[in-house]
């Protein structure tokens, strides 16, 4: 049985561009109206947020519904700041009406009077498709959705940064003691929901929670979008059954180019895993966490090529993340910079004495001390590389040359972004 699903990405082939509203309605039927009962349906479906945290969707909705009173905000988060991820962009470019159906359902169910689509300025194509799709919907009497844009930054999609930007400020995280469900955009109760999550909502509203549970596992029901990249014959965005294992997915999409030297799962805040762990790795997010200490995150799987080095790649990612700090919190600014410095020496097999001890101390020192989880995510992926590839790390520490840095096949981090609006 194939692990590749067709719930979100079914229908016309990608070469035909985005599915127009008429075709969308002919294929899937009109969406029902959103009502408070939908929150119960979502609870039964077991849908969890696809933005990275996998938080139960119904809980977020219930929290906003409690506070809403006819004035609340629904924000569709399509900013996708993770460099390795393309799933939200692809979804919005091919099936915008699924995402927008989900947003409309959320607004109706929660009594929201403001619906915002939050996009990064980096993707012209997404914006074009979305503005066409929104025009089609308004012609059919759907409520208007305003589009807010952000500079393309790693942390711009973090929930409090989204709230800040949509309120007219910069897309930098904020320090708050309350949830955005209580006080979000312009102090109104706010639902910030990843684009893919809302597409699943559009399907669940049509077909029900039992239908959703026909795929996936009891704790991670349904399908999910993954961005597969690196050492693969056919990299790209795929929809997969959450019941599958990582290895099944890799072979179902055509396998690797060379024997994998490891993989990063979950994106730049994710977890490095060595080849033995890859063999039986499940996608189920709870098993992944409890048995393998790994987070599925936004569904990125980046496979290392033969000869590639997790220490080198994780250092490159750390350098990028250090540069992508919002520059607000001392431990993040100073800690990630210090770690990046020491790791560059270690990655190039020329460490100073005590470097690795300082690295471990700083990893612990930095964790949990930012206004957002940027420092936690950055040191999390680093520490998973250091523990998962301990033996190889020791060759770096004794100064033996590693050829990983000159091995192609793993996507390098992009340049850091510019501006915060």
């Amino acid at each position: 049985m194939s692990s590749v699903g067709t719930r979100l990405l079914g229908g016309p082939s990608p070469s035909q561009g985005y599915e127009r509203l008429g075709d969308h309605l002919r294929r899937l039927g009109a969406r029902p109206r959103g009502s408070p009962r939908l929150v119960e349906v979502l609870k039964h479906s077991g849908l969890r947020g696809r933005g990275g945290a996998w938080f139960p969707t119904w809980r977020k909705w219930a929290a906003v519904a409690n506070r809403s009173d006819g004035h609340s905000v629904v924000v569709v988060n399509g900013s996708e700041g993770e460099p390795l991820s393309a799933k939200d962009r692809v979804l919005l470019q091919l099936r915008p009406h699924l995402v927008l159906d989900g947003a409309a359902l959320a607004a109706e169910a929660l009594g929201a009077d403001d619906v915002v689509l939050y996009l990064s300025r980096s993707s012209r194509e997404t914006e074009q498709v979305v503005s066409h799709a929104l025009r089609e919907r308004e012609e059919r009497g759907e409520r208007p959705v305003r589009v807010e844009r952000t500079a393309h930054r790693y942390v711009a999609g973090e929930s409090s940064a989204v709230v800040s930007r949509v309120s007219g400020g910069q897309s930098k995280p904020r320090f708050t003691l309350h949830r955005s469900a209580d006080r979000g955009v312009n102090d109104q109760p706010t639902l910030v929901q990843n684009a893919e999550t809302l597409a699943h909502v559009a399907m669940i509203a049509r077909y029900g929670g039992d239908w959703f549970r026909q795929l996936g596992t009891p704790d991670s029901p349904g399908t999910t979008l993954m961005t597969l990249c690196g050492n693969l014959r056919h990299p790209g965005v795929y929809e997969v059954d959450l019941r599958a294992t990582v290895w099944q997915v890799i072979s179902d999409v055509g396998g690797t180019v060379s024997p994998p030297a490891g993989a990063l799962i979950g994106g730049y805040f994710g977890t490095w895993l060595a080849p033995p762990a890859l063999e039986s790795l499940p996608l189920d997010v709870d098993v992944l966490r409890s048995k393998h200490g790994a987070a599925f995150g936004c569904g990125v799987l980046a496979v290392l090529p033969q000869g590639g080095c997790a220490i080198v790649e994780s250092t490159r990612i750390l350098m990028y993340l250090a540069a992508e700090t919002a520059g607000q919190c001392g431990p993040c600014i100073n800690g990630l910079a210090a770690l990046a410095d020491a790791m560059q020496r270690i990655a190039s097999s020329s460490p100073e004495s005590g470097d690795i001890d300082r690295v471990w101390r700083w990893i612990e020192m930095v964790r949990g001390r930012g206004a957002c989880h940027h420092p936690d995510g950055a040191v999390g992926q680093l520490s998973s590389a250091l523990t998962g590839f301990k033996q190889h790390l020791s060759t770096h520490l004794v100064g033996h040359r590693c050829y990983g840095a000159s091995t192609a096949g793993f996507p390098p981090p992009p340049m850091r972004g510019n501006g915060w609006k």
Binding site: F175, G330, N334
Partner: protein, 75 residues
């Protein structure tokens, strides 16, 4: 202190610029990292003496970056 309220010091890391007065006032709850920024204990404040010092640290911070977060037990 058995009023059923759990109190913890929290620092707003965005406001904090690392003056470090807080760590001098209540080293029992606040250490300083390698760059001069406070590492605030997550352990609830149990004694009146510590609470008094914590409040002094909050009042002394030039950046108004420290807060005492209160939550009811079990919440």
């Amino acid at each position: 202190m058995s009023d059923g309220v759990r109190r913890r010091l929290r620092v707003n890391p965005i406001l904090c610029t690392g003056y470090g007065y807080c760590a001098e006032i209540v080293p029992e709850l606040i250490a300083v990292d390698d760059w001069g920024y406070p590492i605030v204990s997550r352990v609830p404040i149990e004694s009146d003496d510590l609470l008094k010092l914590a409040r002094k640290a909050v009042a002394t911070c030039p950046r108004l970056a420290l807060v005492i977060e209160e939550s009811t037990e079990g919440a």
